[in-house]
Amino acid sequence: MSRYLMPLLAGLILASPLALADEPKRGGEITIIYRDDFDSMDPAIGYSFQSWTPIKAVFDGLVDYKPGTTEIEPDLAESYEISPDGKTYTFKLRQGVKFHNGRELKAADIKYSIERTCNPKTQSPGASYYTGIIGCQDIIDGKATEASGITTPDDYTVVFQLTEPNATMLHLFALNFAFAVPKEVAEEYGEDFTHHGVGTGAYKMVEYTPGQRVVLERNPHTDKDGRPYIDKITLQFGVEPVTGVLRIEKGEADTLGEIFPPAKYLEVSQNPAVKGRFLTVGQLNTNYMSMNFNIKPFDDLRVRRAVNMAVNKQRLVQVLNNRGTVTGQILPPAMAGFNPKFQGYPYDPEKAKGLLKEAGLGDGFTTELYFQNVDPWPRMAQVIQQDLAAIGIKVELRGLEMASLFGTAGKPDGAPMALTEWYADFPDPSNFYTAILGCGAAVEGGFNWSFYCNEDIDARAKAADALADPARAQERIDDWSKIMIDIIEQDAAWVPLFNSNRFSLRSAKLKGDETIFTDIISQPFNFEAAWVE
């Protein structure tokens, strides 16, 4: 009897603190590992998945996403109202919100912060998102210093007038470029604001040492139903992700802020010791190959379709240790508007050869494929090179460093084919169109590397984005879904390849609901929502 009783008792004794440990609690500190320095902690400047989550911790916007979801909720705003014509947004601010320097946030700060993003002196990479607010374009053009479309009837009300209805406007207010900064601090430090960031967020930035670390401390004045929990978060720069994984396994660090190192994937995914702490996460990402409509023979639909049918995506993903999910469409599964029924072009080299013959290219042709010269792009390029060789297309590989790739593929006659990926800035299908498939982006220096411009599609896209009425949200998503499928089915503007997954590994002490670590908005996780044991 006692033989069985003892382990049972031991189990009970062990189990009770574990049960308690699953309750969120305040305190503790964690370290997050990054390979490189951030671009910036200034919300008007930071434009990388690495900097976005820390910026979100230090600064707040009018609205935010509920942790672990893509659902928008008021943040600095207490409530908001959209006019029936979709052109006026009125936000009521919460009272008593304070910047880390102790000053209360007022409506004027919201106005200033967005005007600062529009101001060409700031050189914000997000300025173009706000040109729909009346007056922002005038600031960009140097005709005004203030936006006439942003008004503050009182200290706790801010009103935005838009040039036209924009269904994605709330997402834009949730982006860091619209986060509130105190004018006096932003102007005191100018371009060095990144090292002296002061916001209203759940965390204060107490240290920024370039090349080494950023240290965040819990803001004692923030209390969102008990959140945030963790007292101190150190963002450690300059550590190779492989080393980072070793440190996490040893408990010397808590998670990676970078892309998980491919070299460690197989080992870690099969390690029973990290079970439950190593998660595969979908993200708003699609990897694809562009085919430049300006360069022969890619002006021929049959050739673009042939290339689509010649690439064995399944094998491509296998070469990458299954770190992605094969796709035949533009939108990733995590995005509203994704059509699970649409398979895209099947892998069919014979049919592809037939299409080439129809196009008068039965003997094949020679072309070039551009890509970034860091893993895994060269491996992907080689697989595609072999696949296309099988239907008679001879591909010369051109690996370049990132900036030169952008420069070359962004030229109208630059790259016949290019490998790249797109991460959406916000969870709306429109963000997968305008900058990479829209006519406006089919210009030199743009990111529409196929130089695809279908005016009919462009008009449908504009119409969908003008459907700002929340009651018609589903109709709008359905429109987008059809647009995205037509781009592939009718025009074969890309070869969609796969949606790459993110991998989240965390230390044993870092706790939280699983949805916190599989969040598609905040990578590696929403700093406000997790806790330590």
Partner: protein, 306 residues
């Protein structure tokens, strides 16, 4: 001597000027567009052009270079395009780490390389010599990544003797220094060995032996100092190398040196940073070589600096 140093410094300035012109022009002709990188992926063409103008990238290359040089003479290396931070701040923050690692690495290289090289040279042709030389070859040819990760895995992860990378304490310095010591020590061993063999042939060694001096004294007083000259020249070169080119070792050990900054900047064509680190590295090469040349006559009085 002072005239010699002055002349070398003037030469150094000319070298730096040359390096800066070549780097600047090469960067100018890359297909990348820094203005687009700054303006962001959704910016309109007009916005990109505005940024180009603000950064002065619309000017002819010679005018751009002229402006750069003018600011440089006033100690202004400009601001990083992407981090928007002063390049001097970025380099300054990393300089101490780079210097410290340089010191640690050169010490290890000398300890490992000179010891092994001397042992091999003194027993030329023996089994020990051959083993050591094969070992040196292996160390030299192993990729940095492999050596660094192996040491990290064994001594930090598995045995737990050292922290798994990082910066700030002496224990953090040990493994990266040994890694670089092993990688570079192989070269030092080969150079020391041939140098020792060369010295062993000299008449004064025979004389010393004939006098009946003990073996240790011959090695320490007569052989090593005479064999040291090529090694000192190598240190001079290493000083420059360690100031910018040890990206992988820095990255594996999380060491915040200049190499990492260089790598990041090249990926993003952050021209002000690339120019800054190139100049710092060129300075280090020039100064390292100058120091090596100044030290040589102290060891071998036959060398005269003119």
């Amino acid at each position: 001597m002072p005239t010699y140093i002055a002349r070398r410094l003037v030469q150094a300035l000319l070298i730096l000027l040359g390096v800066s012109i070549i780097t600047f022009v090469l960067l100018y002709f890359l297909p990348a567009d820094p203005a687009r990188m700054v303006a962001g992926r959704t910016a309109s063409k007009a916005q990109v052009e505005l940024v180009r103008m603000q950064l002065g990238l619309d000017l002819p290359v010679w005018e751009q270079y002229g402006r750069y040089l003018w600011n440089l003479l006033q100690g202004d290396l400009g601001r990083s395009y992407l981090q928007r931070t002063e390049v001097t701040t970025l380099i300054g923050a990393r300089l101490p780490a780079s210097l410290l690692l340089m010191l640690g690495a050169i010490t290890c290289e000398l300890l490992i390389g000179v010891t092994l090289g001397a042992m091999a040279g003194l027993r030329r042709g023996s089994a020990a010599d051959q083993t050591l030389m094969v070992a040196a070859l292996v160390f030299v040819s192993t990729p940095q990544f492999v050596t660094a990760l192996t040491l990290l895995y064994i001594f930090a992860y598995w045995l737990g003797w050292f922290p798994i990378g990082g910066y700030g304490q002496f224990t953090h310095l040990v493994l990266p220094s040994i890694t670089l010591g092993l990688l570079g020590g192989g070269w030092y061993a080969r150079v020391t060995r041939s140098s020792v063999i060369e010295v062993l042939r000299q008449d004064f060694i025979r004389t010393a032996r004939a006098k009946g001096l003990d073996r240790w004294r011959i090695v320490s007083v007569h052989i090593l100092p005479n064999a040291a000259l090529p090694v000192i020249a190598m240190i001079g070169i290493d000083v420059g190398y360690f100031m910018s080119s040890i990206v992988i070792v820095e990255s594996v050990f999380g060491w915040p040196g200049i190499g990492q900054l260089t790598w990041q900047a090249i990926q993003q064509i952050d021209i002000p940073i690339i120019m800054g680190v190139t100049l710092v590295s060129a300075c280090a090469y020039v100064l390292g070589n100058l120091l090596a040349d100044l030290v040589s006559p102290l060891i071998d009085p036959r060398i005269k600096l003119r």
